[in-house]
């Protein structure tokens, strides 16, 4: 018994050793979508300045908003902008506002598995909304066959797949559907998690793609990165200018550029169904949520330094990981807004 206690005590002390180190540690938490990108960025930044350790964990956008408001993390991250109530809650609690900084762009693509169909399908907004509302139930419905005249689609029942977990991807998808279909907007609305009229839920992009791959006649939506990295077939979507665009990094960035002109100063904007001939309609920003005041000057400087680097060199790392970079116009606006972090 004594022997065990002795061993445990030794292990305890060893594991609990706090050694003095001069590094500055920052903690951030939030969105899962940009997690691979952020982990790359923070790692590169650490190489540039080894004294700064920025630890980012993906606990979900809702978690990010909650934790930055609670003050348990130094900054947050979210795939959807904070609502007015959330901003007010933050302001009331801390006495100063929290600022949004877009970092990268992502897109959401429709993927499908129809036996006998290998061609790339073209989807109109009406088709997508109809399928997800449960009003279009067969693959050979005119709304789908219309733009796909060269493809013979079977009369099978469509199996709709959506996300079961709350996610930024669902937010973008439902935000788009709310814009292009007033029925969707009234009946279902937009959120990280909605009351889906039809369909099965898969957990994560992995779950959705797994289900789509295994279920004949299925349709689902996944992040562009996921589709690219896993070489999944996905369709093109008609944008607001009437052009069928297949999502890729350039068309996603084009969507942000199209929206840049009318962007509000706080960057809280939805860029789905953005104007522009080459814009991919189901695109979105993801944001860092940074307090406008830091009690600790060294932390503030570290954060500001990182954001400056991120907007410049950082953008060069995005393509390798299949994230779309910010358009120049937005970068310029952000650099100006960075001055408000004191």
């Amino acid at each position: 018994m004594k022997r065990i206690a002795g061993i445990l005590l030794a292990v305890f002390c060893f594991a609990g050793i706090v050694w003095a180190d001069s590094s500055l540690s920052l903690t951030g938490a939030g969105a899962t979508f940009p997690y691979p990108m952020y982990s790359k960025w923070f790692s590169e930044y650490h190489k540039k300045d080894p004294k700064i350790e920025i630890n980012y964990q993906s606990i979900g956008s809702g978690g990010g908003i909650r934790q930055v408001t609670e003050g348990t993390v130094d900054f947050g991250a979210s795939d959807g902008p904070m609502t007015d109530e959330q901003l007010k809650a933050y302001q009331d609690k801390h006495g100063f506002p929290v600022l949004h900084f877009p970092t990268v762009l992502g897109g959401v693509v429709p993927t499908y598995n129809i036996p006998g169909v290998t061609a790339e399908l073209k989807f109109t907004p009406e088709a997508l909304a109809g399928i997800y509302l449960g009003k279009i139930t067969k693959w050979n419905d005119p709304a789908i066959t219309g733009p796909n005249s060269g493809v013979s689609l079977p009369g099978n029942e469509i199996v709709v797949i959506h996300r079961s977990d709350g996610s930024g991807t669902s937010y973008i998808w439902t935000d788009y559907l709310s814009k292009v279909s007033s029925e969707w907007k009234d009946k279902v609305g937009k959120s990280t998690s909605v009351n889906w009229p039809v369909g099965l839920g898969g957990k994560g992009n992995e779950g959705v793609s797994g289900l789509v791959k295994q279920t004949p006649n299925a349709v689902g939506y996944v992040e562009l990165i996921y589709a690219i990295q896993n070489s999944m077939p996905y369709g093109s979507v008609k944008n607001s200018s009437g052009v069928f665009i297949k999502a890729d990094l350039a068309s996603v960035t084009a969507a942000a550029a199209g929206a840049a002109k009318n962007m509000p100063a706080d960057f809280r904007v939805s860029i789905t169904d953005a104007p522009g001939k080459t814009a991919y309609p189901i695109s979105s920003f993801t944001w860092l949520l940074i307090p406008s005041k830091f009690p600790d000057a060294s932390k503030r400087d570290a954060v500001k330094g990182f954001v400056k680097w991120m907007l410049a060199d950082g953008q060069n790392y995005t393509e390798a990981l299949s994230y779309a970079k910010l358009p120049k116009e937005v970068v310029a606006k952000e650099l100006k807004a960075l001055n408000e972090v004191r």
Binding site: S61, G189, K190, N195, L200, G201, E206, G207, G210, Q214
Partner: protein, 329 residues
């Protein structure tokens, strides 16, 4: 039941005849006090947990009241929340899981305790314990990649062909759904049953077995009719452990249950469970009513556990036998 037969008068050697101080010096009273504090802390933690959940779910409780239990809608956009489909899903998947795991687990534990040579039994036991340590996310991913296709392509069609007339097996075979979730849960809870039951069976005194065999029973009869009943409470305890695990499992279930808040008699239908929906939506939930509704779901699960435990206990008491000497369920 048995606690009164094994515990010598618990208030000290002869109640009242020795002063508190002298009892204290002997150490028994201190031991009693210390262990009481620890036991009480368990109750304290549970009460604190329920209290926290209660306090953190004040908004939906006021807004929906008891309607929360019977509403079928879960709509985060229009702020309308109801727990009924999730309660149904939790009960159904746990029932399926126990239906599969209990016979499997008890059977395996009988084999390990009675038939297998000691070395083999111990080695296999190490490995079966490992099943309890596999992270649920791995169960989930393996579930999607292996169990779901198996279900969709072979098992569910076979069930429909043979038993399709039952309402239990109607509807399209997607592969995911209540049945699949139940199967994955069964695998996850079986180690608890095997592990604990095996130990309990091993501690049944040899005389019991020998007496049965001496009276001419076959190996199986002595096991099933004498040893297992003797170990009944311990085995039931292990089933309680398994039930609790099944009720609270989040990750693996959320990946294979289909996540459609439906209530259907068919096991092939997709559904959802309380733990799964909390795990799926809590991290992304924004807005007080939404988050608090999820917490209220947690409270509902507590209530469900409370009721199911109570029902099970009543069942045990009403079918209780004399002569069961091991433990209390």
């Amino acid at each position: 039941m048995s606690s009164t037969t094994t515990v010598v008068p618990s208030a000290g050697p002869v109640a009242g005849s020795r002063s508190f101080l002298s009892r204290l010096r002997e150490g028994d009273e201190i031991a009693r006090l210390i262990t009481f504090l620890f036991a009480a802390s368990v109750v304290l933690i549970t009460v604190l947990l329920v209290y926290e959940l209660w306090v953190s779910s004040v908004l939906p409780r006021h807004k929906f009241g008891l309607a929360f239990f019977v509403t079928r809608v879960w709509d985060p956009v229009f702020d309308n929340f109801g727990a009924l489909p999730f309660i149904y899903g939790t009960v159904v998947t746990s029932a399926v899981a126990l239906f599969i795991a209990v016979p499997l687990g008890i059977g395996a534990s009988i084999f390990l305790a009675e038939l297998a040579p000691a070395r083999v039994s111990d080695t296999l036991e190490f490995f079966i314990d490992l099943l309890a340590a596999v992270p649920s996310v791995i169960y989930g991913v393996l579930g999607i990649f292996i169990v779901v296709p198996l279900m969709r392509q072979f098992i569910q069609p076979a069930l429909k062909n043979t038993l399709g007339f039952l309402p239990l097996f109607k509807g399209p075979a997607y592969g995911i759904g209540f049945l699949t979730a139940g199967v994955v849960l069964a695998i996850m809870v079986v180690p608890y049953i095997i592990s604990v039951s095996r130990e309990v069976l091993l501690s049944v005194p040899r005389e019991q077995r020998e007496a049965a065999l001496a009276l001419g029973s076959t190996r199986w009869e002595s096991t099933w009719k004498v040893v297992v009943p003797f170990a009944r409470s311990g085995i039931l305890g292990s089933i309680f452990l398994a039930l609790a695990r099944a009720l609270g499992e989040t990750m693996a279930v959320s990946m294979v249950i289909g996540n459609a808040p439906t209530i259907s008699a068919s096991l092939l239908s997709p559904g959802d469970s309380i733990a799964s929906v909390i795990a799926n939506q809590f991290t992304e939930a924004t807005g007080d009513l939404y988050t608090q509704s999820l917490i209220e779901l947690g409270l509902v699960l507590f209530l469900l556990t409370f009721i199911l435990n109570g029902l099970a206990r009543i069942l045990i008491v009403t079918t209780s036998q004399r002569g069961s000497g091991l433990g209390n369920a």
